[in-house]
Point group: C2
Chain length 149, copies 2
């Protein structure tokens, strides 16, 4: 077999999708050319960044979801954006925000299980300069990425 599924999942996580113009046209009872025009406009303005898939993360082996709040070490403190940019490159990271409060960065992590979670944190402490972290494990996800699960 070719194990295409894994490749598809990683591609659809970020993009490789497109709007269904004719379906939208039907729903809104407008000509498909009008819908087409309006979508292209939103894309040109940069209002739409990407078209992507939302998964049942348990079923794709990413059932363990955690929110990690982190404070950076003295040397990294003051440059949270650099750290955040690096974190954003990690495919396990769903989102990264610089936030207000006692902790600089909020990470949403999706991994298979608690072992992979631990591997991420252990690796990150040195790699990114995490001084202190608080983790909130998601016990149940009701809605993600605007999609109800």
């Amino acid at each position: 077999m070719k194990d295409i599924a894994l490749k598809l999942i990683s591609m659809f996580k970020e993009g490789y999708c497109t709007p269904q113009i004719s379906q939208v046209a039907k729903k809104l009872k407008e000509p498909s050319t009008t819908i087409h025009y309006n979508i292209k406009k939103l894309e040109k303005e940069g209002a739409i960044r990407s078209y992507k898939a939302v998964f049942d993360y348990k079923k794709i082996g990413e059932g363990y979801c955690t929110y990690i709040l982190t404070r950076l070490t003295a040397e990294k403190y003051g440059h949270p954006e650099e750290v955040a940019e690096k974190l954003a490159q990690d495919p396990r990271v769903e989102s990264v925000d610089i936030v207000t409060g006692d902790y600089e960065i909020l990470i949403k992590l999706r991994v298979k299980d608690i072992d992979e979670y631990y591997a991420f944190v252990k690796e990150s402490v040195n790699k990114y300069g995490f001084a202190k972290t608080i983790s909130l494990a998601s016990l149940k996800q009701i809605k993600t990425e605007f999609v109800r699960l």
Copy 2:
């Protein structure tokens, strides 16, 4: 004019998109029918929940993003799922999780500005039984929904 843009945004937030089979086929150098077969399989298994758009939220008037941790009142405590389900129906809510720690629910909220944020919190205290809340405002979003901004 017909103000189609607003309707498109709300539709694409949750769905009305589809995978680009031929583009994926090109990228992976596989026949498009093979890609088609594998995608349909993922959909049937329920691994893919939806195809949707990711926006530049500032440009669609939802530039103010907050993470809200909340503890429920005594009467609601023990039934966080009911509250979470109601919260999930709100279009301003991007995600809702039941989490570990001192607070039961973690909400990711997207609104226009701090006034709309305040309106949400004020309204929620009574509506959902929020006893105590901590809010972390996102100062900068580096990555959201697996998409780099």
